[in-house]
């Protein structure tokens, strides 16, 4: 929709506009101190999780019964657990699972939720009715119980945690995306595209979707800590990650039996959960304020 007198081609202008939007966003985000702290923490955590075998001198699975429940020392910075394994190393390896569980199901529920939300909002009518009633049901279902039922049916392992959490998460994404799609549908550029005879699927993919991406980024960052929380709760209750795998929730659950002798075994992984959840929340808040100030409540 560039005027014919404009010297720049349409895509160049678009690129320019995008660049400045991106620049503004980055600038606003960088001004947010808490968000930057959160980002630094998450980067550190990712590095720690990826390079765990090279960073830690200990084996997370090696059992040493003569070194049970040792207090913190220079060899074992956070002491050892009931099998004589280094607590810090177990937490570092646990970060791998927690990060993967934070990211993968959030991505899946984001994809399903976006698709459902755009279809529901753009097509309206019967599609909208069916999708939204389905979303109502999923939202009315208490999340933890739904996840527990899924784990009961499919069995407790990592893949099923992905499924359970994706099932829990997609509906709220769909609701947000739908309401944005409804607002976008009334905009002139969508009307113009429709008047051009653009196919519905193209309108949805090329015109609606790019406009919900900023919201999706925010929803994604805020879904990660939630998924980490759910996974740790499921694992704590014994229906999530199974031993000898090290997930933070499981580490707390196993450590709680030795609260008296070695409280650090249970407390340290909890600190890891708390800090990670806080960090992602800070990033999400920062992104939300930077990308779309109107979403701020």
């Amino acid at each position: 929709m560039t005027s014919p007198s404009a010297p720049l081609p349409a895509d160049a202008i678009e690129a320019l506009e995008e660049a400045s939007f991106l620049r503004d966003t980055v600038r606003a985000f960088r001004k947010n101190r808490m968000a930057m702290v959160g980002l630094a923490f998450v980067l550190l955590l990712v590095l720690g999780a990826v390079f765990a075998p090279w960073i830690s001198p200990h084996d997370p699975y090696r059992v040493a019964l003569d070194e049970q429940l040792l207090p913190a020392s220079t060899t074992y910075w956070l002491g050892t657990d009931n099998f004589g394994r280094d607590v810090l190393t177990r937490i570092l390896y646990g970060a791998r699972i927690s990060l993967v569980v934070g990211i993968v199901p959030s991505l899946i529920s984001l994809m399903i939720g976006t698709m459902m939300g755009i279809l529901s909002g753009y097509l309206g009518g019967r599609t909208d009715f069916v999708v939204m009633r389905l979303a109502d049901m999923m939202i009315a279902f208490p999340s933890l119980l739904l996840a527990m039922v899924v784990m009961y049916t499919l069995g407790a392992n990592l893949l099923n945690i992905f499924i359970a959490l994706a099932l829990v998460g997609w509906a709220s994404v769909a609701r947000v995306v739908r309401s944005q799609t409804l607002a976008l549908r009334e905009k002139e550029f969508i009307e113009a595209a429709r008047a051009n005879g653009t196919a519905r699927i193209t309108v949805m993919l090329r015109h609606i979707f790019p406009n919900v991406v900023p919201t999706l980024i925010v929803l994604f960052t805020l879904a990660i800590p939630e998924a980490i929380m759910w996974e740790s709760s499921l694992s704590f209750l014994g229906v999530g990650v199974q031993p000898p795998e090290a997930s933070w929730g499981l580490l707390v659950a196993k450590g709680k039996e030795y609260m008296f002798q070695a409280p650090a075994v249970a407390i340290a992984p909890g600190v890891a959960i708390l800090l990670t959840v806080l960090a992602f929340n800070f990033i999400g808040d920062g992104l939300r304020d930077a990308l779309d100030p109107s979403m701020k409540d």
């Binding site: 109502d136 208490p142 009961y152 709760s233 704590f236 014994g238 407390i267 806080l278």
Partner: protein, 311 residues
């Protein structure tokens, strides 16, 4: 008003039916024979067959679903395989404990959350505000099972002020109520703060100030009345959420409530019990949402007007 309530109730019915269907399908497509799975190798083929027949497991899925729905409507949720007792009895016996936990947790969250939210809003952007909001973010970001362990460690194991776990009197309820209440206190505090800030910007507040009312009078007599509306409505949802969210708290503090039933049903693969407990909790949540919506329209005339326009 009555029309709105009626319509809202009617809308919840298909949602509820849908949920029972989803729940039923999820629990009944478990790979393998549920009875054999539960009884493992202890039972003979005869016994397994008899239990299967008792549970009508050989009927078609749709028939079983319809009879499950019909029975559930009549308060019959089947029989626990493991305990051989009606599921409804087991749940109703455990429910008062869960209710007591949820209500005391809700009280904790209101007693903490509402004043904190008001103070934060009144002293907006002050050190106090930042401190409180940071604290409430901490409450929301802490896994419940972990804060429970911390409190158990400090107050029960180290200071020996309160019992570690179990349920033999009111003092056993203190730690669980604080643990469960704290996480929702954060939510209440944030909502209270933002709601009060919003109201304080309105014209009628300026009028109240202009006629010379003191600030405390403006807040308590004028602003709070409206600012509390969203908070009060969230409370209904929250109590329902606490009822179903008590699973973890009940597990840690060994409180014999509905949450504990749910977990033990999972570990003993007691399908009818699990089905009944989850259905029960879900119905509570739906009822909570219903009450919240109706309460909202009762308290806020604007919502009522909007409803009338839509109708």
């Amino acid at each position: 008003m009555l029309m709105f309530a009626l319509r809202r109730i009617l809308v919840s019915i298909p949602v509820l039916i849908g949920i029972t269907l989803i729940l039923f399908i999820m629990l009944n497509v478990v790979p393998g024979d549920p009875v054999a799975l539960m009884m493992k190798e202890h039972a003979s083929a005869d016994v397994i067959e008899r239990v299967r027949q008792q549970m009508h497991l050989d009927d078609p899925l749709l028939t079983r679903y319809l009879s499950f729905l019909w029975d559930a409507l009549h308060g019959d949720l089947g029989k626990s395989i493991k305990l051989n007792r009606p599921v409804t009895d087991l749940i109703l016996k455990a429910f008062p404990n869960t209710l007591m936990l949820a209500v005391s947790a809700a009280l904790v969250s209101w007693i903490v959350g509402i004043p904190v939210g008001i103070l934060s809003a009144v002293r907006r952007d002050s050190f106090l505000d930042r401190f409180f909001m940071g604290f409430s973010l901490l409450g929301v970001s802490m896994p419940i099972f972990w804060s429970a362990l911390l409190l158990q460690y400090v107050f029960a194991m180290k200071l020996r002020l309160l019992p570690v776990s179990g349920f033999y009197g009111w003092q056993y309820m203190i730690l669980p109520a604080i643990v469960l209440g704290w996480s929702s206190a954060g939510v209440i505090a944030r909502l209270m703060r933002s709601s009060l800030l919003e109201v304080m910007r309105l014209d009628y507040i300026r009028t109240a100030r202009a006629k010379g009312l003191r600030e405390t009078g403006v807040i308590t007599r004028h602003a709070l009345k409206n600012a509390l509306i969203p908070v009060v409505t969230i409370m209904a949802i929250q109590v329902a959420g606490l009822l179903s969210g008590a699973v973890i708290t009940e597990a840690i503090f060994s409180i014999p409530g509905v949450g504990r039933i749910t977990i033990s049903a999972i570990s003993s693969r007691d399908m009818p019990l699990l089905q009944g407990a989850v259905l029960f909790a879900t119905v509570l949540v739906i009822l909570g949402n219903l009450v919240a919506d109706i309460l909202y329209s009762v308290l806020d005339p604007r919502i009522r007007a909007q409803m009338r326009k839509e109708a």
